[in-house]
Amino acid sequence: MGYRLKMRIWRGDQSGGDLGDYEVEVSEGEVVLDAIHRVQATQAGDLAVRWNCKAGKCGSCSAEINGRPRLMCMTRLSDFDPVETVTVTPMRSFPVIRDLVTDVSFNYEKASELPSFAPPPRDADGKRRMAQVDVERGQEFRKCIECFLCQNTCHVVRDHEENKPAFAGPRFFLRYAELDMHPLDTHDRRQLAQGAAGLGMCNITKCCTEVCPENIKITDNAIIPMKERVVDRKFDPLVWLGSKIGLRNRDNDGRTEV
């Protein structure tokens, strides 16, 4: 079943680089990361690449494969024709460190700007109670493996370095939505999401949702509801009417704005 796969892998660093041609033996059931590892072990010992779990669980091995943002460990070679050349390049929205490794610190900065969870005291017996249906909304968002592929893909920052300071990106809109929908949180972060995090700059193109390896419905389930909640806060007459006739969600009642 084995064959020789032709690959082009971007090699270089901050000062520039180029696609290098490689040919490597691959076998049935293998993924792009296997091929990269074999190149590393046999032809280019210093080829830089991030990975940990090799099972789509840690979100380390993000790259662009034939131009599409994907996890290398979850991209099977059987998706390609054996005669096809597979091209692997680093994520484009982040500065290259070396080869396929990029500087993703943008995401860690954005994470640190986000006010954390603030629960009320526990129940009298020292436990907390939440209904399964209520935690499920947040659980969908907490599936995020922080691969940052959505951050890499979103056109607001892709090729628009100037937007980065004011835009947290889809991964962190998820986090805002998660906390907003948390049954116990006491903070109201809607203003912050809209302002400092740049939710308003998102024009719901759904490109982030398309690349999410966890299949999180980032746009439909997090961003759009979050936008609606922000509007709600501004006393949009329609939403106000909705609230009068009982359509409005009550997640933000009794919260303190941060």
């Binding site: 296997d34 010992g45 090799k54 789509g56 840690c58 954390s116 935690v135």
Partner: protein
């Protein structure tokens, strides 16, 4: 100088004079898995200036891969459950070789540690009453594992990571520690590391260092572990003068993927069995009933009918044999395969498709569903999985004081998978994540207290040691050799798998020690290409030294222990010998040359009578 990154602390420019940065902290935690993060949070909360140093990006440590759950006797499903039952299960699972005090503290403190995660934002699955749900796992008498589907580790690491970030703890990510530094009196003075990104060196000066570096699985060919599991903490501690215990006990998880080859070893969570999955051989026989050991007979169902009733009525039925502790199940699977009753790709069958509805399976086991679908073209709601044993966890590790996690070197602490004693000869599923939390917190507090008690008179790092650490890290660039680190790693993995695997014999263990000596010689001639900037070949060359040292510990201890117990099975000594081996640990230290291992014996701490009563 430079735009040091505000969050990562990373050095983006190379213009630092001499290429050496120095940082002063009260507590330096090496590792950002569950154990390291929990320790750092505790140290910070106790008022210590704390840093976390880790090899990968924050949030990518091995803990992220844990699937099944966190064991804690919260009693949310079974009010009968309490720390005493959990303690008993843990000791029996470890075949009584556990450090009793650690097992006791663990069982007592785990529930509060889990609820703390909830205070920090974790969203666990719920019971009908809205409490944290608890699921069944092998070796646990009651449903006890707090979980989030089958991605509990992700929930845990994200919660702790977000907490650490919110507290503003400094994180040095993609920064690898290669040596511990001591002062003239032998106390910890700091740690020496390099940035993966730039290849530049860093010296951390701190009177307390907490090792939380995880396991050693990368020394085996078939493993569920990632590249990080090269036994760094084990080896750092050894070289600093601490000792390792229980190194012969390596857990082979019964259910790893066997096909396709590229994913061989990848874990299939025990929750599949906890949620109703059963094991079958090629004759379609549910074979685990043939492998119930005497030790667990009283609590294990001996008919299919009873086993199947247990899922709904736990009071009146005993547990299915599929949920025996891992060592038992792994050995049974191994025997079936050896007897020629295996599946087409050399495993056996794990079947949940014929026992639960597709909806239930997708809901309870979403990442298993995803993993098989995407990587093996198998729909687990329709057909059985093929699985076989995979190297998963090391019970052995750094010997520590049970209450403070202090190792034999003053100022050195160890927690999580790199520490030893807690799990005895075999770890129960779910007991690792709780171990990380319980002892992480204890170590962080003890490390902070030590730093605090020292005031200004702190141990100082010696320049000679820094120069030596630097020279040793750079050696692979200077050697004019002919050996490739990837080839040496490959040969080590193959030989550990073949000779020190799930079933062991004297002849093979002796041979493995000879192989390790040869590999050590080859490692001296190992050379790397390229330069210091993000160079995986160089990183591996540094890690290999640790892998070789730790592999030697495993093989030597396995050769010495002439009995079978938990994660150590000797074909030539199949019995568990309580008289001779039930009362002592094997201890590894570096020998006088610094490059080899000396083995000694040490009596096991004796359990007080008030705890002994649980085992009558």
């Amino acid at each position: 100088m430079s735009d040091r990154h505000p969050m990562t602390g990373n050095e983006m420019s190379g213009s630092e004079p001499g290429g050496l940065e120095r940082h002063q902290y009260d507590v330096v935690v090496v590792g950002a898995g569950g154990a390291g993060l929990r320790a750092a949070i505790a140290a910070h909360d106790a008022g210590a200036r704390t840093a976390i140093v880790c090899k990968s990006l924050l949030g990518k440590a091995h803990t992220v891969m844990a699937e099944g759950g966190i064991a804690a006797a919260m009693g949310n499903r079974w009010p009968e459950d309490n720390w005493e039952v959990h303690f008993r299960d843990t000791m029996r699972g470890g075949k009584m070789l556990n450090n009793w005090r650690m097992a006791q503290l663990h069982a007592q403190e785990a529930p509060e540690r889990v609820m703390e995660l909830e205070d920090w934002g974790a969203l666990f699955d719920r019971t009908e009453d809205g409490l944290i749900s608890q699921r069944d796992f092998g070796g646990h008498k009651y449903a006890r594992l707090a979980h989030v589907g089958d991605r509990t580790g992700l929930e845990m690491i994200r919660t702790l990571q977000q907490r650490a970030v919110a507290l503003g703890i400094d994180v040095f990510m993609e920064c690898t520690v290669t040596e511990l530094l001591k002062d003239g009196s032998g106390s910890i003075a700091g740690a020496f590391a390099y940035w993966r990104e730039t290849g530049r060196f860093v010296v951390f000066e701190a009177p307390s260092v907490v090792l939380a570096t995880g396991g050693i699985g990368k020394s085996f060919k078939v493993t569920s572990n990632s590249w990080e599991y090269t036994g760094d903490g084990h080896a750092l501690a050894l070289r600093a003068g601490a000792s390792l215990i229980n190194m012969e006990f390596v857990q082979f998880h019964p259910t790893g993927m066997v096909w396709p080859p590229s994913v061989k070893g990848l874990l299939v969570t025990e929750s599949v069995r906890g949620d109703g999955g059963i094991l079958k051989n090629s004759d379609g026989k549910r074979f685990m009933f043939d492998y119930i050991p005497e030790f667990f007979k009283a609590e294990t169902a001996d008919t299919i009918e009873e086993a199947d009733r247990w899922y709904d009525d736990k009071k009146n039925n005993r547990r299915p044999p599929e949920l025996l502790p891992r060592d038992e199940v792994a050995r049974a699977i191994n025997s079936e395969i050896k007897a020629g009753r295996g599946s087409p790709h050399g495993g056996i069958f794990l079947d949940i498709a014929s026992r639960r509805t597709p909806d239930y399976i997708r809901k309870r086991l979403p990442s298993m569903y995803h993993q098989f679908k995407e990587l093996a073209d198998v729909d687990i709601t329709q057909e059985p999985m093929e699985i076989g044993p995979t190297c998963h966890y090391v019970m052995g590790g750094i010997e520590v004081d049970p209450d403070t996690e202090l190792a034999a070197v003053p100022g050195l602490y160890a927690v999580g998978e790199c520490s030893g004693g807690m799990h005895g000869s075999n770890r129960l599923g779910g007991n690792s994540l709780s171990d990380l939390l319980v002892f992480g917190r204890r170590a962080g507090e003890a490390a902070a207290a030590r730093a605090d008690s020292m005031g200004q008179s702190r141990p100082t790092v010696r320049d000679d040691d820094v120069r030596a650490a630097q020279a040793s890290a750079l050696a692979p660039f200077d050697v004019e050799g002919d050996e490739n680190p990837y080839a040496i790693q490959h040969d080590l993995q193959q030989s550990m798998n073949d000779l020190v695997g799930i079933i062991r014999t004297r002849g093979e263990l002796e041979q493995s020690l000879q192989e390790i000596e040869k590999l050590k010689e080859r490692a001296k001639r190992m050379t790397v290409e390229g330069h210091r900037q993000y160079n995986p070949g160089w990183h591996l060359a540094i890690d290999l030294r640790n892998m070789l040292l730790v592999s030697e510990c495993i093989a030597k201890a396995a050769l010495a222990r002439e009995e079978s117990r938990g994660g150590h099975t000797r074909d030539d000594f199949p019995q568990t010998d309580h008289e001779v081996w039930g009362t002592k640990n094997l201890v590894c230290n570096v020998d006088a040359t610094g490059a080899g291992i000396d083995l000694s014996e040490k009596p096991l701490p004796v359990m007080p009578d008030e705890l002994k009563k649980y085992f009558d």
